[in-house]
Assembly symmetry: D2
Homo-oligomer: 462 residues x 4
């Protein structure tokens, strides 16, 4: 079959080359945006007198009919037509004749694909923002149920100080909140209209780019035609932000995989959200969490993919850029699938509160409380730190715990210590006392949640 | 020497372990921020009655004296003291005694290092924003001098259509403008105060985090103490944005390396900005551009470094995070050094205007103009495209150029073509006609530059 | 449907979780290896008396029937059965009853998937080695036709010294030769048999791993069962080697894209191997080369993907590892598709010999020959270099070329120069004189090619 | 100061450009190899009659004197002289006059730097191979002491089956054994002599490359001069292999960090190999392991750095390649420093054998043994698996363990079960029974270690 651009060519394209250069096998998913963009373009062309109203009607009806056929599985995409743009334009011309041959007036695939991808990504980011919010809502709900659930807080994977489960979960809410912010920043740069840049230099035809932008709901139009067709920043940005999101998801996965070990035993997951072994009859594995952790590699890989593609490409458009889509689509699908699944997964977590409480005062976790107690009694912090360090060493050597030392043993280390020391040697005291902004005190966490709810958290209408 | 945290330890740290875990060999550069943060912290502690005013005075004077010593090269950083924080705190206690031992009240290295890095990066991003603006100003200045300098525009590294040099340069201005925007977005997330999170759970001492934020010029305080000490998003974001910036720099480098080849010969660079060969006496090489292109790898590497470090780390702080600094510092230095150098480099470019003009109508670059001419005469674009394709094939086979065909030859392909065809077969006509928004017409570029100047471009006071 | 491992579970798996954890949508391609491995396993089980001969026969016949159905498109893979292993085992049990339920004796999916991927990759590397050799053969053939085709050699993308086209092409032959070597090294580590490791600890059943290895043509068996199920080195290695291969392909692509520019004009490509523009009727673009360059990002991305997946996974098997396959399959497909296409592409290159010759003595490319001439006359090289540098500067300032200076002008710079200087100022002299091993002299290149042919080059039976 | 290549230049290099392009600040470490290479080169030049014997003597003595000065800190490297090569050549000429100016005969920095880096890397890989062997020896020693130390084996971070500590440690020995193999493969490709390629095309002077190779202990010489100066494969390969090595180190780190948690409590580390907290007096953190895990990012980053640098560089040498060294040096230093430190760290690990034993039969870890027991009694494996799954579920619901069920309870699930079931419900029985090759049975591990010792393991004289 003849290519739409074949006028100057004397030989048809080799089948091997055609198979290597086609993109329809993956860019077909852009069809709704390609058709939406073409309808807006045709509407503008007619308004500017570049095509007749009757041509416009034919084009729009033809495109809508193609859309319907695609939706109903009646449209065959062909590799000979290379990409989604040529497949649709070619089908249109076959259906409606010369009017179809006017659609590409003042347009190149270079600006057309930029438009389609921006429309696609605008939609997908909007969906992802909603999924992030859904998951943050779930975390907040669980946090609210666990404001006073005491558990060990860790640094270096060693028990450090008692915290609350709510506080731990709200750390993720903060992390995913920043992810949301970053994607919103990116959305502003996605939401700019490139059509009209044509091949790279604009056009001598009297088009109206602002009108197309208005029709398609864009906030602005691109300001330089060469940049318009060679810019893929918005894709890189999206995947970079997705990488940070997945970095967060992998950290959360790690926490919950750890907590599900026999050794930690902080949580249990529903049988419906775990899987078994083909050989070991007793196994119940947290595969969802492991796969979420593993898919981080996929997103980091997508990021390096697009960054490498774009490295050192001279202006303006180069065919290398066709390779932007497989990694973009993979990133979008992986982000969405994972957010939906982890949200489902979190419906069914059982926290083992007694175990969490008992672990919370393991490993001398209240040693810092004792040091702060000494500071309040007037001891310089650095000396208090050393004093408590010695008490801990004594406990280790004598197989004691901070709460089982006698007052006289305490006093032998420091005579500032009095009977009130035992009041503070309780995990619940420890967490209640951390009232600094963002500290783990339940009342502070409650305040933060209420504040969040009044701001952007419960809005989920992006 | 005894570590400040050694109370509970019965053996000193092995020298090999000390050498592996120390960070002072690279984090010493944070000293001004460490001291600035400690002064604010001490000021707050005194105001809250956690230390006396006289302790505060001693601390501040001691810290200022240390700062002076460091600046004058009279301070020896020691690996035994591990990091910049311990080096300074330890020196302070040695100098001023017990007051120094109170400085670490309600503070951990976990929140302290987060504070220091945020102060450091806030300063560096501000500097980088200025350097980006400086370079954009230079590009705009050159563009203004070349509004009507016609040159070939490329897609697929093939001459595509005539553009102006100004238009080409303004594409970079757009690209670096987005880089600036992204870094400003990041700056908002850098400019949040983490101190007071302490180890991970906040403190039972009555601190005032908002006052510390005010003293240090932060817009907000972090809202969750666990997140405060385990968050490195702001570093990842900065390096991701730097990666996109370098992707742009590498593309510009590629253009200017190409243009400097004997074959393109579009530009000449000053002898003062090029280098020679140790063996080939005639060589004059564009090393600055090549190194700029090559350093893209460095920044991409920094990005993968920090993303890998953070992957799947459970909450909250883990020592792996110490590895955030070498890549951050390398990225900051590379970005700044490169922007300064490329700005210098662009002072001395000579554009070969005659060569640019002559190349601009090579490769039948005005074929699209002919197609648009036919569209204006009423031919559907797709048919116009094919018709001009055939004309081009005829030219190739007969060794002709579009501007050397006779009218009768044109008419033999399409009787819509008239004598006015020759009016459009001039590169200057071609560029003047591209008046669509962002098109290459000089008047359009001029308008864009004027618009930019009124907005954020000439502000460089970030 | 009930999972094969569901004995200990009280609830079925959620559909969302099933969709997230399944791998059949991509690992179905392992089916021939899964069946091959199962047949060998059953053969061994029977020989060891762990199943009866009649069970073995049923199993083998059942598996062969399944294979036939898959090949004929009559087998439906189901997500409920998770992966290719369970799909086939489950189908087998349905078809042949209890004998099928014995197949998984002394086997886990953990060692089974390791076996399948090793069988798959062994086959694919063997194919890729052949494709690399085919392409090297093509390059050698073109080199042999161009032993004396003189062209400019470049450093810093600046004309440096004359070389031959054969010499330039043989540089790629060396590069791809190392790629072949590396893949052969990797193949040794792929070709090790993991089955029998079972879940992670081996088995108490009396199996014969060496016999399975023999049946499947493996050179060795793995030596530690925990390592056997958690090792993915062979995948990382393969993708790392593919990354270097693509680095080479991207460099070659860049050369040939440059050479196809109007400005270089060193080559022409067949219309059948290039593509056009949707808007610009004259365009003929080297898309194959651009896409080959772009796909480098894809392979680098696959490498970061698998490295990230494996980072910090504790022993032994973790479900994250399921994410090894999408990147492995993508890398294999991309490598093969690209090698086939570039080989096709090189069938049709036309080198423009006159243009190559004329460019070869541009940019004072023989200046080094003059310096070596002076060395032969007794001048220290460093002084010769500087002297020729001054001659070049004189030429630039006076718009001369080295071959158009008069003898007296030469002598004014250095009285060692005599009339024989003009003998060497010919590109063919220059290349002929570079007789050092690996130098560009045609006779040296010829010798190298003959040597290569006697060694491994023309063997393509790996 | 005048550059050695400045003959054709009319202006000195700008200071900013000089600062950006210099490499002496990092390539100075190549000085011993630069001098070694230059001595060999001069020796060859004299033997070929290209310089006199007396010049050769002067050069060698001059170079040795420079080497001594550098070692004694009496030599000042200068940025004006750009790189290590020019610094040394320039100093030599200043010291010995014209003889020094002859050293660069038939040599370019392009082949010189390739030589220096190959000499450097050959040395470093040899050192690293030794360090890997040292560490493998340490692991084997600990394994030999723990052949019968039973512990839980994990999949999905869930207790799976009992294994021995020796078996677990030998998995690492296998992993690091492959790392060693890969580096040896790379060493073959490093150990090839590039000098004589000169700028890119070889030389017209009568040099003897084989003699230089012999003097410097190279096994072969490069076969194509363009490839010789543009090849950086050996660097990429080294860093790729280092990435896999660090992937292994990060996995081992993760195991040992987990085992050191209070919850696992499998190991204790010496106070001399751990560090404390600035705020929490009780903390003892496994920083060495965390930093080892974190430095994985550094090496992955180095890999992406060099791969990105090399992407799409046209032949032959480009200045971008100067950026190969910072990442190579960083990778070499990090690998060596980490191997030395982890070896030290492993001197002091205390394994808590009782805790390991008790954990080994947690989580129904012998369920697979029961299934294999049933297989031996004649039940098809898949049915045995399901039967045991139901027994496990019964245990969970009734808070029982496999070893505390009564025979009648067992029989109620399957009447094949007899009194001998209790013989196998011991972790030591479980591990002893895994006698398949590479299985966890102590006698099998012992056999493997003895086999290893006879082969390459105890050779450490690479």
């Amino acid at each position: 079959m003849k290519k739409l651009w074949s006028g100057r060519f004397s030989e048809p394209v080799s089948k091997i080359v055609e198979g290597f250069t086609e993109s329809i096998s993956f860019d077909f998913r852009l069809w709704p945006y390609d058709i939406e963009g073409s309808i807006a373009h045709a509407t503008m062309l007619a308004r500017q007198g570049l095509i007749t109203d009757s041509d416009k009607e034919s084009i729009i009806n033809g495109l809508l009919a193609i859309a319907e056929d695609i939706e109903n599985g009646k449209f065959t995409f062909s590799k000979e037509d290379e990409d989604v743009h040529m497949n649709i334009e070619n089908a249109l011309s076959k259906r409606i004749g010369d009017a179809g041959r006017k659609l590409h007036t003042a347009r190149s695939r270079n600006d057309q694909v930029a438009l389609d991808v921006r429309l696609y990504l605008r939609k997908e980011i909007t969906d992802i923002l909603k999924l992030i919010q859904d998951f943050r809502h779930r975390l907040v709900t669980i946090a609210e149920q666990n404001l006073t659930t005491v558990m060990p807080g860790y640094t270096h994977m060693q028990i450090a100080q008692p915290v609350t489960l709510a506080h731990h979960l709200m750390a993720y809410v903060e992390m995913f909140g920043r992810d949301r912010q970053r994607l919103e920043d990116t959305l502003r740069r996605v939401n700019v209209m490139p059509l009209g840049a044509c091949a790279l230099s604009g056009t001598s035809l009297n088009i109206d780019r602002l009108y197309v932008a208005e029709l398609l709901g864009f906030e602005a139009v691109t300001q330089n035609s060469m940049d318009s067709v060679s810019d893929r920043d918005f894709i890189v940005e999206f995947i970079a932000n997705s990488s940070i999101l997945f970095m967060h998801l992998s950290r959360m996965a790690e926490d919950f995989i750890l907590w599900f070990t026999k050794e930690f035993a902080f949580v249990d997951y529903s049988d419906s959200c775990t899987t078994g072994s083909s050989i070991m009859p007793q196994k119940k594995n947290p595969d969802v969490l492991e796969l979420m952790r593993g898919k981080t590699g996929r997103i980091y890989g997508c990021l390096i993919n697009i960054l490498t593609v774009m490295k050192a490409l001279p202006l303006s458009y180069n065919r290398d850029m066709q390779e932007d889509k497989p990694s973009l689509f993979d990133a979008v699908d992986t982000v969405k699938h994972t957010l939906i699944t982890i949200n489902e997964f979190f419906k069914n977590i059982e926290f083992k509160k007694e175990r969490l409480y008992n672990a919370s005062f393991d490993n001398f976790s209240m040693a810092t409380d004792v040091a702060e107690y000494l500071v309040k009694k007037g001891m310089p912090f650095r000396i208090a730190h050393e004093t408590v360090g010695k008490i801990v060493r004594f406990c280790i050597e004598n197989d004691k715990r901070l709460e089982t030392l006698s007052l006289s043993q305490y006093v032998s280390f420091c005579d500032l210590i009095e009977d009130d020391i035992f009041d503070i040697l309780k995990p619940e005291y420890s967490v209640n006392s951390k009232k600094s902004i963002g500290g783990t005190a339940p009342e502070e966490t409650k305040k933060l949640i209420e504040k969040l709810k009044k701001t952007e958290l419960y809005e989920n209408n992006t």
